[in-house]
């Protein structure tokens, strides 16, 4: 069966196993690198398409720093005019971070929101991905309605028994609005 163990063949054997495995992995990585990048890109594009109105061309990626933190965002345009901004923001929920993509149109109204990732309790906080909760942010005008749950004196209908998740969602949307304001301020400065 197995060969006798000696220091030389043990080292050699482990070394060989490691080299062969690494080579194999490097090869698989080289093959899958592109599909992985494509899959990630496709996911972002899908999220953008959900949260902003119809647009043409490719979304343009950019980042902005607000209060010491970098926020990636995407500008989309229709007929050469900026049609909206898809902003990624996050807040801490119940089971971890709740990451959102928030679409804000040029007139500072939220077009739609979508959850990029969350680890809330299934059946409770995880309901933040369902339309029953998320659809209330469609066409939300932050100038008229306050982005706080009703318990805290705002206008957001919280998910039953999941105030913390609802609060996190509202905070993330509010952050996105603040990021939008920063983007607009920066653009005005540039002109």
């Amino acid at each position: 069966m197995a060969v006798q163990s000696s220091f030389k063949n043990m080292t050699l054997c482990l070394f060989a196993v490691c080299i062969v495995s690494s080579a194999l992995l490097a090869a698989v990585y080289a093959v899958t690198e592109e599909p992985i990048a494509e899959a990630e890109h496709a996911k972002t594009v899908r999220a953008i398409a959900v949260v902003v109105p119809e647009f043409d061309g490719e979304p343009v990626a950019d980042t902005i720093e607000v209060a010491g933190k970098k926020y990636p965002y995407y500008i989309v345009s229709k007929d050469g005019e900026p049609a909206g901004y898809a902003i990624t923001s996050s807040a801490s929920g119940y089971g971890g971070p709740v990451k959102l993509m928030v679409g804000v149109t040029a007139d500072r109204v939220i077009y739609n929101t979508t959850v990029l990732s969350q680890s809330e309790t299934p059946g409770l906080g995880a309901k933040c991905t369902e339309p029953a909760f998320a659809d209330q942010f469609k066409e939300w005008n932050p100038a008229e309605k306050t982005l706080k749950v009703k318990k805290d004196g705002g206008d957001v209908d919280a998910i039953t028994a999941s105030t913390i998740t609802s609060r996190a969602y509202a905070v993330a949307v509010e952050t996105a609005v603040a990021v939008y304001d920063a983007i607009v301020a920066e653009n005005n400065k540039g002109e």
């Binding site: 495995s21 807040a91 971890g96 971070p97």
Partner: protein, 200 residues
């Protein structure tokens, strides 16, 4: 402040055994007696903290600069296996009494998924505590997180072993003997730990 939240969260709220389901094998396997459960917990505590420190440094000083993050899994498990071996050898030399207490558990720890799980968690997951922005943990936070997680492991292990010692004295319906009744007990314990959720 953040360190306190990390500790409370890792021990009670996100207990590695009862809410993350990592390290269930030793949880069910060596929890028949309180003394062995305590020994196992001690060994795990030692290895998780050390392994997380080493893998964290390896991730940010070797894998990331070389852009071979895809080698993470293979590198981490090798590091853990090597560390466990080394701990075993060192312990044998410097503290035979401690080796007698923990030694037999050490070989089992390489395949304890809590160790690899925590090592991977601190370099891939973003954490947020007390409403702070979600972020990856830094070195200090990672080590504190690892240590607190292993304390949570120990707490659950010891509570569970205590419960099982009591159950062994009672009459259990035949099909439930052994693992099923242990799982039912674990379920009730997990329910109790759910009371902590929302604390952080």
């Amino acid at each position: 402040m953040e360190y306190i939240l990390i500790i409370i969260s890792a021990i009670f709220v996100n207990n590695i055994l009862l809410s993350q389901f990592m390290g269930i094998c030793p949880f069910l396997g060596v929890s028949n007696k309180l003394s062995t459960a305590a020994g196992m917990s001690g060994a795990v505590c030692f290895v998780i903290t050390l392994a997380t420190l080493v893998t964290y440094l390896f991730q940010y000083y070797v894998l990331v600069p070389l852009e071979i993050e895809y080698m993470q899994t293979i590198a981490f498990i090798l590091i853990i296996a090597a560390l466990v071996q080394m701990v075993e050898i060192v312990l044998k030399k410097i503290s035979p009494s401690l080796y007698q207490a923990l030694g037999i558990f050490l070989p089992l720890i390489t395949t304890n998924c809590a160790v690899l799980g925590v090592a991977l968690m601190v370099v891939t997951n973003e954490f947020s505590y007390g409403g702070s922005e979600p972020h990856l943990l830094n070195l200090g936070e990672s080590v504190v997180f690892a240590f607190a997680t292993s304390l949570g492991f120990g707490l659950a292990m010891i509570l569970f072993a205590g419960l099982r010692e009591q159950i062994a004295l009672n009459k259990v319906p035949k099909p439930f003997k052994g693992i099923p009744i242990a799982l039912v007990t674990a379920s009730i314990l997990a329910m109790a730990f759910m009371g902590f959720s929302g604390l952080v």
